[in-house]
Symmetry: C2
Subunit: 456 residues, 2 copies
Amino acid sequence: MRKELFDHEITILRDTFRRLLRRNANTNLAKLINKTHPADLAIIFRYFLDEEQKHVFSIMKANEPTAAFLVELDDIILQKLLEEENSERISALIRQAPVNDQSYILGNLNEEKAQSVIDLLKLEEKEEIEELMGYPEDSAGAMMTTDIFTLWQDITCGEALKTLQDQEDAEMVFYLYITDDDGRLTGVASLRALATSQSGTKMRDIMIKRVHSVRPETDQEDVAKIVAQYNYLAVPVLDESEHLLGIVTVDDVVDVIREEATEDFLQMAGAGKDREILLKSSWENAKARLPWLFASWVGGIIAANIIGAFEHMLESILALAAFIPVIIGMGGNIGTQSSTIIVRGMATGRVDTGSELKVLFKEIRVGMILGVLYGVLLGLFAKLKFMNSDPMLGFVVGMSICASMLIAVAVGSLIPLFLRKLDIDPAIATGPFVTTSIDILGVLLYFMIAGLLLNI
Amino acid sequence: MRKELFDHEITILRDTFRRLLRRNANTNLAKLINKTHPADLAIIFRYFLDEEQKHVFSIMKANEPTAAFLVELDDIILQKLLEEENSERISALIRQAPVNDQSYILGNLNEEKAQSVIDLLKLEEKEEIEELMGYPEDSAGAMMTTDIFTLWQDITCGEALKTLQDQEDAEMVFYLYITDDDGRLTGVASLRALATSQSGTKMRDIMIKRVHSVRPETDQEDVAKIVAQYNYLAVPVLDESEHLLGIVTVDDVVDVIREEATEDFLQMAGAGKDREILLKSSWENAKARLPWLFASWVGGIIAANIIGAFEHMLESILALAAFIPVIIGMGGNIGTQSSTIIVRGMATGRVDTGSELKVLFKEIRVGMILGVLYGVLLGLFAKLKFMNSDPMLGFVVGMSICASMLIAVAVGSLIPLFLRKLDIDPAIATGPFVTTSIDILGVLLYFMIAGLLLNI
């Protein structure tokens, strides 16, 4: 119910923008931009034509909401808009954003242009940005907020409250970070603890001492795990000497969790890992999906060769051909179940190092149960359907589907477990690999079992 | 790098617990429990035997961390622990938790026992819990925090700060909620805005007036979308007369986003939607996965019948059988790509109502590009491999794979789009449906094309 409303609001807003654009009503457009939340504006941009995007962007002021809007935009749209913009305007726009957003926006320009924008900034800003841009992509360092202040542990709550009131620049305050004489992080305190304590109390007496922290090079997925597990609003990023470099905030973590899940979904299906695939052209779309289909094509060729090699068996018992789809299909489906359960289990921490064998054996037990069940069912069907064929046909088909499903759970479990051992993201095209392996192995097993049991 | 460390810490902690358990060292165990974060303890419980779980739980005190630990536990473990516990202890335990956590814990008991626990609570607590338990599962009402206070819009910042200091019970304060004379929510203010304003300023002058809110019956997925889109720390839940019932906080939203993604992953693979499937027995596991395999089995039987009906064609050109796997395999894979892109696009708001046709047509264009490419490739291969077969065989195989891939993108796109139109979760086993449909349609098309083009 509410969802419809949400979609509905966006649609109304989009149509209003379109109307004003057609009438070239720039004054009203500027007003509407002002009234629209940057995040909503970023979504509406998905539905604008290139011309409309350029038009709206050209009348946006260089202020904080515009900077926020740029950060919320899909990369592909952001890149297109900035490509045609001169360095002066870009530099004016990003000056309004926190450093992590600045470095994110600059990361969407080509190197030369990014440098020309940076050159327009003040020396201090320049150094900060260059530091952040030096951290690996998808690391805590690249996404941390650096507009953060610390409090010395021996000041009183009253003094802390005054310091807080002078911090105009600091981003939304989540926690207060407390340091010792050497500037090392020793604890955190909540704003509430500060507000509800006597003004003479020292910070060191209200702070929490055991603080989870990350390093700037920590991968964003691991940062997200910590924030999610301990219900934090922010996690501090420390250097080797335990000085506070910045914080990663929960709103960015929410984005990371959604984005990582989307990437895993696409990768599992062998559709690349580009979250914005829906915004890409058909050609680029096809290009991203082509390689995994090629793997499947090669698998199909191998399967065709196997069947070709057993042609003499097909010649005597044609009915064998009828069961090829169900044998590889059931295998493919149960194998996909296994790999999905395991890949997702790894992403959410439910399959940790050490429990691999336990997981594998359980999958094999499940494969046995379901393999025997569907083997008997299919065997009976084959027996009834092809009464006048070889009396053993039903048995062969039943055995084969059982074997194919067993192999499938094993392959479906082993591929992601093995990829992780090699430190490769287990989601990478696990899906197509599993179904293709089953195509080959299923067919091979089927004809080998037939060769053993039938009089051919 | 950091991930290993994280896993490693949990392993050490688990081993320490195990050692103390074996020695029955209850005093040391109690100390260790005290030092362990409730969220970590909940994870370690996954690796304990039933006996170990019971032992550790029996020496846990009825305090806030224990209540937090219960909420973090996997449902299946929580249910097992509480099943064997008497109502008095459960009631003592949950008394330490906020109302939404209380109602969550009680939701994991059978009705009779839940009632007997509720009967032990004070009248006021009882009413609050029963109200929350009355909201649908997975709604904003069921997950909202109700320990929340409001401030009248005409009080000054100084007065507000004093009120805040008296709020001992309120959960972590995210925002200050401001109401008018009738108690309707009129705005929110951040703690920072309060702390940095002159103490004589009225709240109405520092508050933000346009506030996104939800209703108690709003689905948790939609709540999550709002929090994620606007980077909120909490979203207010209002009744029809705009009175504040509670707030949904970002830490719960983080859990929702992860859980919904996991459910979608499992559903797409036809493995049920139970996030805790890895904790279930092999039998329960098999039971959850059986129905979607049955769909695939029925599809396989239909495909077998189709091939059976075209037996005469196979009889003259045996080589036809060799290409069955590649034709349905490529179709299945590209169809899964389409449905994954679309299902995930719907979940993240990238495929909204109104853009369905655009998305469908793009998928069809992608299917054309890839279908023609792989059709030509496979046709050439078939031609070379089976030189002495019918000269048209290559053409038939090429045409068929192209047709199968085209049908696959259409089916893969239409099934989720159609499910959403019917207001059914598009993730529901879209995967198995797609591959099974392709098994049937692919084989049918293949033999029809062969019938048309070959001299049989």
